[in-house]
Symmetry: C2
Subunit: 162 residues, 2 copies
């Protein structure tokens, strides 16, 4: 009878083991979180592209964290939302038409990585007609107060260097 009194304590010991995920459980959870993040980021990419193609530099810069790093090809890193805005303003003078095709998103909690391909046409200064580019990108996203923001954004062209 005295042993029976210990039952609740035994339950306490069993039930309160630290809940450490097995690698398999982590994989399942990360798979579900990645699918959810992909849906959210797909939508954000649609919004991003819309404002990008309308030349809304300030709206586009707001997709980035305050201290984000924009890493454009053939140019220096633009650090910070302000620097990113200035970089996009210069780019928007070339009236770019961007299309993003997100391929894969991997997310774990507040961190996500998106890989995709892009096409873009733009008219560089002095060019008589638009030039077309196609390439790939990698974007590091962070969930900040329930909203996915871009921390790092890098891309490059598939086309041979001229």
């Amino acid at each position: 009878m005295s042993y029976l009194k210990l039952l609740p304590f035994a339950l306490l010991l069993v039930a309160c083991q630290p809940k450490v995920e097995t690698p398999e459980q982590a994989n399942v959870r990360i798979g579900a979180e990645s699918a959810a993040a992909k849906r959210a980021i797909d939508s954000l990419d649609v919004e991003f592209t819309k404002h990008f193609n309308l030349g809304h530099a300030e709206v586009v810069a707001d997709f980035y964290t305050e201290n984000a790093h924009l890493m454009p090809p053939n140019g220096r890193i633009a650090p910070g939302r302000e620097g990113i805005m200035v970089t996009f303003k210069a780019l928007f003078a070339m009236t770019p038409a961007l299309k993003l095709m997100p391929t894969e998103v991997v997310a774990n909690g507040p961190i996500a990585v998106e890989r995709g391909i892009y096409t873009m046409t733009m008219t560089p200064p002095g060019a008589k007609e638009a030039v077309a580019d196609t390439g790939k990108y990698l974007v590091h996203w962070q969930l900040v107060e329930g909203k996915w923001l871009i921390v790092e954004d890098i891309w490059n062209s598939d086309l041979p260097a001229k």
Copy 2:
């Protein structure tokens, strides 16, 4: 006295609340995991660079997951460890000398993102002397059975397009 008998059950209820992290706790944990991942990845970058500069294509390819994506500028994505090995073999014919300077690593559990800058000299076919490049990179790492492997690897040049 009968209420006292309920004490263990009350303890059970209190102690076994699901352990949900607050955003602050998550930030602290992610900060610690990022610092640990940075140390591990710094070491891997040293090893990677050593074998890269010795032209060991198979050893370098083994830093990548089986289904990794190598995203070189001015070229198509090389998918898979085998494709990555072939891509590096072609690059190593130009006797590149690479230097990686990792700037930041953010990690959460088995996912990490590394940002850094690189310098590389190489001698393209027909060139009389080596050309120097400098740029930035973003690498998505995954912890696989206790070992960090590269999932996605993209970089681009800071220098103006020629």
